[in-house]
């Protein structure tokens, strides 16, 4: 055994295959992130509704798809839904018949359930007085949501959103169980061909690490851009610090 556990020649040779795997992982990250977020908004409104008939199903959705391990959700969609006759003969079989479709459905539902909680937490963090003040100014409810509550909620919830996205990326590593060749699956198949336990997996780890940290850097810039009005304090303001931060921002503009 040589000193370095990595076989550089093998690493160089397997780079293109690993890169293709990374592209699959990126694809399986981006699409469910979009679908999950789109699903999360209506479910979050239902969850926050005062009508039990709306709130209860939404809550059940969140408890189930957040509480169940992603691996089981994936099995459930991939193996379980095929059992339903109507679905097998219906038009949606294009989605549920392919491993990609199943993975995207399972990942999206899981992400949506997490995002409902992130959204709800961020929306609840918006001080009520601000909403009341907007109502007193005669701003329509839609505009209050779009231009007052959401911009503030985004700032409060950005850190939680980042955590969810990062853990989601890492969660996609299981899609190889439904025959998708993502980054993890490529590394595994190289291991099975060469019996080198370190090179392919450590290379895949480097790719994952780079992808995850790219997302972290992106969120940091996003957070900085959202808080550009108080450039000295780039960190996300907590609900309590916000008023102070805004005062500080004004003090700089006034003179």
């Amino acid at each position: 055994m040589n000193a370095l556990p990595i076989d550089l020649d093998l690493a160089w040779e397997s780079l293109p295959a690993l890169f293709d795997g990374l592209m699959v992982t990126v694809f399986l990250t981006v699409l469910p992130l979009i679908i999950g977020l789109a699903l999360a908004f209506p479910i979050c409104f239902a969850r926050m509704s005062s009508r039990r008939a709306l709130a209860l199903p939404a809550e059940t959705f969140v408890v189930f798809f957040r509480g169940a391990p992603l691996l089981i959700l994936l099995y459930l969609v991939y193996y379980g839904l095929g059992q339903i006759e109507a679905l097998r003969n219906g038009p949606f079989w294009i989605v549920f018949g392919s491993p990609f479709g199943c993975a995207i459905v399972a990942l999206s539902l899981n992400h949506a359930a997490y995002m409902v909680e992130v959204l709800r937490g961020s929306l609840l963090a918006v001080p009520h007085g601000i909403v009341e003040a907007s109502e007193a100014l005669g701003i329509t409810r839609r505009n209050i949501f779009l231009w007052v509550r959401m911009p503030l909620a985004l700032r409060y919830g950005l850190k939680a959103y980042q955590n969810e996205v990062v853990s989601f990326v890492k969660g996609t590593a299981i899609v190889s169980v439904v025959t998708i060749t993502d980054l993890m699956a490529v590394a595994n198949s190289i291991f099975e061909q060469t019996y080198d336990p370190f090179t392919p997996i450590l290379c895949a780890a480097a790719f994952y690490w780079a992808f995850v940290n790219l997302i972290r850097v992106g969120f940091t810039f996003w957070g900085g851009w959202l808080n550009r009005h108080n450039a000295e304090d780039v960190a996300m303001p907590g609900p309590g610090r916000l008023a102070l931060a805004r005062l500080a921002g004004r003090a700089k503009v006034m003179p």
């Binding site: 509480g67 059992q83 996609t172 993890m184 450590l202």
Partner: protein, 242 residues
């Protein structure tokens, strides 16, 4: 719709039960390892030594930046070679079981998250706690064990609960390394009976039930740990960066 005989069902249920026990064992073993490692690492890396701090940053960044599944595979496939490199001839003869690989991998990964929580909690403690202990000439071991860490646990509890429930949802990953746990048993039963929907939903509900039960316990524990506080302090944002 179901075409299972009662005897068959009882057999599969027994298998699921055995699998659930293995999943629980795996979970408790890895959480204990992660907790002990995490507290140790959290305390040690508060040192001012530049190398220790750099090592902590590398460790945290690596294990928070790669999927747990990858770490499980790395230890399962490469564990023997790693042990051989460290222990020499003796280590090469140790076979890595899926269970051992799972405990080691989940323990190492989640120790990073727990260490981060513990570090945050220690830094949030008033300086006077350390100064007071020193002024009373309390030996360091007793200071950490009886003064600092009990308060740290109170501050870190919400984050620890997060790590706990997140880790629970990652334990099924070890079945991909060949462990015959709850999820593996459910998959076998689903394939053999052609009733995947039933078995996977039942498995999911088991996880949710366990998670709910432990959340209830955590709330009780939190109330107990907070009994010395006049009112619940504002929770610092100590959520695990999962």
């Amino acid at each position: 719709m179901t075409n299972l005989s009662l005897a068959d069902l009882a057999g599969y249920l027994r298998q699921l039960g055995e699998g659930a026990l293995i999943t629980l064992e795996l979970f408790f073993a890895s959480f204990t390892l992660a907790f002990v490692l995490g507290v140790l690492i959290g305390v040690v890396t508060l040192s001012r030594n530049r190398f220790i701090r750099a090592a902590w940053r590398v460790y945290a960044s690596v294990f928070m930046g790669v999927p747990s599944l990858l770490v499980i595979f790395l230890i399962f496939y490469g564990g023997s070679a790693m042990l051989a490199a460290v222990l020499g001839e003796f280590g090469a003869r140790i076979d890595i079981s899926p269970f051992g690989a799972g405990v080691a991998a989940l323990g190492i990964v989640y120790a990073a998250y727990i260490a981060e929580l513990v570090r945050g909690a220690i830094e949030n403690l008033p300086k006077g706690q350390f100064e007071g202990a020193r002024a009373l000439a309390i030996p360091p071991l007793i200071m950490w064990g009886r003064v600092i860490l009990p308060q740290v646990m109170r501050l870190a509890l919400p984050g620890l609960v997060n790590v706990w429930s997140f880790m629970l949802k990652e334990t099924p990953l070890v079945s991909l390394a060949g462990l015959q746990d709850l999820v593996a048993a459910a998959k076998i039963a689903a394939g053999a009976t052609k009733e995947p929907f039933l078995f996977f939903v039942a498995t999911a509900l088991l996880f949710i039930a366990f998670s709910a039960a432990s959340l209830w316990l955590a709330n009780r524990l939190e109330a107990r740990l907070d009994r010395g506080q006049r009112r619940a302090p504002v929770r610092s944002s100590a959520q695990a960066e999962a």
